[in-house]
């Protein structure tokens, strides 16, 4: 039995775990361990071979593997221990981590603090219940990306993509470059869920049509996908009869959303937010269990890895401080979402833990122009932030100054988004 007491154990060696571990070590945590179930570090970045990562964080444009290597290369110098091929089975509230690996067998590892960085998982065909046959040739976009970019297999020749999430858009371009014909990208909503730049450089560049307010109503095929039937949907997202278009294709890629992977968090008893499907977190990314932190896509799905890195650095720093000093105390305010806002992270703020301002991340429920973000408390608007353009596919962020904390009533603030003319 490994009797080592780690300062910080990081569950998951993707971008979030790498940043959290390095930052924990930098903050003075002496023994930091990353447990990663794959045989290499880097997580999803390894298969994201396209460029565009790191513009915010490194001020240069990197591919996924390059972005990951910037962190991986620093681990040894930082003294961070890594176990690959190590599957975490359970994290208990007393911060014992149960894990298995081929090399070490079953392990019980103890830590002063734990950072949960398990990332997220793709929604599948089952989760969205597409009618039709069950032939081969239906992949989630990320699975297709793994087959193509890591294993080197071409997954199809004529492709229809359902959903306009970024991975789907990236795969539309990738498959086109490798010689496939991408016939259509079909999106249920009247707007795309992907970043604008990906619509431009992945679809428009290659003349791939984007069908907004459309969905797949039938998949036909015996052994392999042969045809896909697409129809327009009404405002209630019900297919409109008579609008069907049939595509002859052999492949369907699904890019229909990501779900934070919180089995371990739930097992541990961490409070989960129904809006994000991730842990409820404080300003320092601590969950409802003292000393258990979480960051990255396991908390809420991010658009940009750069933001995952920044959030995870906060988690790593806080985990190191917890290992050193224990739980921060003091009053706490709750962050609630008002009109047009679907969730906020963090959900709770310990006021004494905030330096000059606290960053609040959130998403809106529709595409808007000329809006004002309002932070209010007890019926009074405390802060306003203008935005020309907002969309559900683009995470928003405001910095709420500590100087305004004394104005907070009843221990809670509300983040809402209103039209400029309706702003108070």
């Amino acid at each position: 039995m490994n009797e080592t007491l780690y300062d910080v154990i990081v569950v998951g060696g993707g971008p979030a775990g790498l940043a959290a571990a390095l930052e924990a070590a930098k903050e003075g945590a002496g023994k930091v361990l990353i447990l990663e179930r794959n045989n290499e570090l880097g997580g999803i970045l390894n298969q994201c071979i396209h460029n565009g990562f790191g513009l915010q964080f490194f001020k240069e444009e990197l591919t996924g593997p390059e972005y990951a290597s910037r962190f991986i290369d620093k681990l040894a110098d930082a003294g961070v221990e890594v176990m690959l091929g190590a599957m975490v089975l359970d994290v208990s509230a007393d911060k014992t981590v149960h894990a298995m690996s081929r090399e070490h067998g079953y392990m019980q590892l103890r830590a002063k603090s734990v950072v949960l960085n398990m990332g997220c998982r793709e929604r599948t065909r089952g989760a969205i219940a597409i009618p039709g046959d069950r032939p081969a040739g239906v992949f989630t976009a990320g699975a297709a990306q793994l087959y193509m970019n890591i294993e080197g297999y071409m997954v199809g020749k004529r492709v229809v993509i359902l959903g306009s999430g970024d991975i789907g858009l990236i795969m539309a371009r990738r498959m086109t470059l490798e010689g496939a014909k991408v016939l259509a990208c079909v999106e249920l909503m009247p707007y795309s869920n992907g970043l604008n730049r990906n619509i431009v450089q992945c679809l428009n560049d290659y003349d791939i049509p984007l069908y907004l307010s459309h969905t797949i109503v039938d998949i036909k095929g015996d052994k392999r996908v042969e045809q896909v039937v697409v129809a327009k949907v009404d405002e209630k997202r019900n297919p409109i009869p008579g609008t069907e278009i049939t595509f002859d294709c052999d492949t369907v890629l699904l890019s229909v959303g990501l779900i934070p992977e919180n089995e371990l968090s739930r097992q541990a008893g961490v409070e989960i937010d129904r809006r994000t499907n991730g842990p409820v977190v404080y300003e320092n990314m601590e969950t409802s269990i003292p000393g258990v932190f979480a960051s990255g896509n396991v908390v809420h799905v991010h658009d940009l890895v750069d933001f995952v890195t920044q959030e995870s650095q906060r988690a790593g720093r806080a985990a190191a401080l917890y290992a050193k000093n224990g739980e921060p105390q003091g009053p706490c305010i709750a962050v609630e979402n008002g009109s047009a806002v679907t969730y906020t992270v963090p959900q709770k703020i310990r006021t004494e833990n905030v330096d000059k301002f606290v960053e609040i991340f959130f998403r809106v429920n529709f595409v808007y122009t000329n809006m004002v973000i309002q932070i209010s408390s007890g019926g009074e608007v405390l802060a306003r932030f203008k935005r020309e353009h907002m969309a559900p596919g683009e995470m928003e962020k405001v910095a709420f100054p500590k100087a305004l904390f004394p104005k907070i009533r009843d221990g809670k603030i509300t983040v809402s988004v209103v039209k400029e003319e309706d702003a108070e």
């Binding site: 071979i49 460029n51 970043l195 730049r197 431009v200």
Partner: protein, 117 residues
Amino acid sequence: MTELICIVCPKGCHLKVDEENGFSVTGNSCPHGAEYGRKELTNPTRVITSTVCVEGGTLRRASVKTSSDIPKGKIFEAMRLLDNVTIPAPVAIGDVVVKDILGLGVDFIATKNVPKL
């Protein structure tokens, strides 16, 4: 006047490019946007990424990118240069995989470290 969405960073600024006034750009929030707007209407370019086969490595493929952006019209021609490329492990980020693509003075370089098996 042409309207574009800037692809330089994820912000995706809505640009307006005035072809009649020396391709002056408005709506950009940084100098990169101005450069992109002008280039997009005069000589649009892209960085291309793909993978090549690796022999004797811990992984079967290594990812590659063009060391700089190349003209949009050359993308498929450039991709074909990678079709039968196999490189031996170890591969280090920055290794030149295909030199001087189509005489453009741009290389395909590795973006992944692949150790020897």
